[in-house]
């Protein structure tokens, strides 16, 4: 049998998270689970299927192109995946908000207990996953026949792009009419995406206001960094929700993470402690963030940020 990977995309381009999940799928394939196929379900999304042919380790791309998949509504996506599932031993998706929305619905319809956000594959039925905001790592063995898995993207490298898969158009399912898309308000930014950026600079409650939060921009510009935020900063309205790094926001693991005015709550650290190098700038020398920081600076961020922007020129 084989593995089915659910591609995430915006009907034009593939989201990078798909590539990390592809690596996990290939690892699982190497455990004797067979070939990896990718499902591209969307509307007018042939360009995504084309792009998917290049993912390393993918043999076949199933293209389901129909209006009811345009916005990846779980109520329409899940029955399509369930229909395909009979030919697969494992179904994998990145643990993005879209993957988290759709896959448990698939799992329930197939009577399978999903394994969420795996960080390591031990064998074809045994996986590691973080629990308690990453303060413990559980090794779990799935007793179900099929494996339904979401993948923590920071734990797997992105797959390369010298693949040569083939595209097969498949028949599409119904629009079940349970839900419909109304609108979205996506944050427009020329900066790298938070989950795939090499450098991230994040602000916390210490930034003080939405106005002050913009002080991060100058440093981010110099470093080509993505901008993140702690939950406290988002709750206070300093930054939009999609900036949030933490247990319930985005999990990131860049080369360099600069935490500015962030005290280091358990749930924030859960989202960034796998970063390669962590810098903390905080005027409170007792802030827990310093316990995980490679380089700490006890100072007023309002002095440091302009100086840092200047030093990086």
């Amino acid at each position: 049998m084989a593995i089915l990977l659910i591609a995430e995309h915006d009907n034009k381009i593939l989201k990078p998270a798909t590539l990390n999940a592809a690596t996990a799928a290939s690892e699982l394939g190497a455990c004797g689970m067979g070939d990896v196929c990718v499902l591209v379900a969307g509307h007018d999304c042939a360009s995504v299927a084309d792009e998917a042919t290049k993912i390393n380790g993918i043999t076949k791309i199933l293209l389901a192109d129909s209006a009811q998949y345009q916005n990846a509504l779980a109520e329409n996506m899940a029955p399509l995946i369930v229909e395909l599932a009979k030919d697969y031993d494992a179904i994998i998706a990145p643990a993005t908000t879209s993957g988290k929305n759709i896959l448990p619905r698939v799992a329930a319809l197939l009577d399978v207990q999903q394994i969420s956000e795996i960080t390591k594959i031990i064998s074809n039925d045994t996986f590691q996953r973080p629990i308690f905001a990453g303060n413990a790592i559980a090794t779990v063995k799935s007793l179900d026949g099929k494996k339904i898995i979401t993948v923590r993207t920071t734990a797997f490298a992105a797959a390369g792009s010298d693949g040569n898969g083939i595209v097969e158009e498949i028949s599409t399912g119904d629009d079940f009419g349970l839900s419909s898309f109304v609108r979205d308000e996506l944050t427009k930014s020329d900066r790298p995406e938070l989950t795939s950026a090499k450098i991230i600079i994040s602000g916390g409650r210490g930034m003080g206001s939405a106005e002050n939060f913009k002080l991060l921009d100058a440093v981010a510009d110099k470093l080509n960094a993505a901008i993140g935020a702690s939950r406290a900063a988002v709750d206070s309205g300093f930054a939009p929700n999609d900036y949030q790094v933490g247990q319930t926001g985005k999990v990131v693991a860049p080369e360099l993470y600069i935490a500015v005015g962030i005290s280091g709550a358990i749930q924030h650290m859960a989202g960034m402690k796998d970063s390669k190098v962590i810098v903390a700038i905080n005027k409170d020398s007792d802030a827990p963030i310093f316990q995980v920081a490679d380089y700490g600076m006890v100072a007023d961020l309002f002095d440091v940020l302009p100086e840092l922007a200047k030093a990086l020129e």
Binding site: I137, S142, N241
Partner: protein
Amino acid sequence: MKALVAIKRVIDFNVKIRVKADGSGVETENVKMSMNPFDEIAAEEAIRLKEAGVVDEIIAVSIGNAAAQDVIRTALAMGADRGILVQSENEVEPLAVAKILKFVVGRENPGIVILGKQAIDDDANQTGQMLSALLGWAQGTFASKVEIVDGGARAQVTREIDGGLETISLKMPAVITTDLRLNEPRYASLPNIMKAKKKPIDTISVSDTGVDASPRLEIIKVEEPPQRTAGIKVDSVAALVEKLKNEAGVI
């Protein structure tokens, strides 16, 4: 319409958890337990819908041992009308929880079910989606705004997604899972805590629901993650930039 709110008793979010020495799990003896924070948001949202006249009765349901009554009492003190405890001595996995909740939905016939998007212990983020699938209902996950429109026929739900916000329209009845910014849960006042003691809690067992809750995931071991250690302090921006360039090599 009735609202059903599902709540879980978990280790309090402020507690630094300890992994058991034998690797079998996490220490829960003598540890402060509370309602899962996302479930508090779920209870609050149901109460606001009742205050807005959309919902007329709120039922709080929890699955767990007898101590799970505590979180039901908390929900009752916040403003839920009655509770249901589905008693289980064992951990119940999300799929089985969803099946048990489906049984409760069949008995109570709510027009809306509101759950936290994830429990902060197993971090699974599955139960609401699974319940919605088993019921064949629409799902509005990671909600930051919920409006019941068209005279109760539809829900308009704004969701927190990776790129920002998305608004979808759901046919009712529907399952909603809550994200952080949906509301700020109220504290129960002392008079309401006293009143909650008189509100009814119906206790049933998992076997009453007919659900096979035997685990599908075997826990092989639970261990501490690799620990990071504190590095050094630098005393100037110049020193920081020098370290990042020449020592860490990341800029």
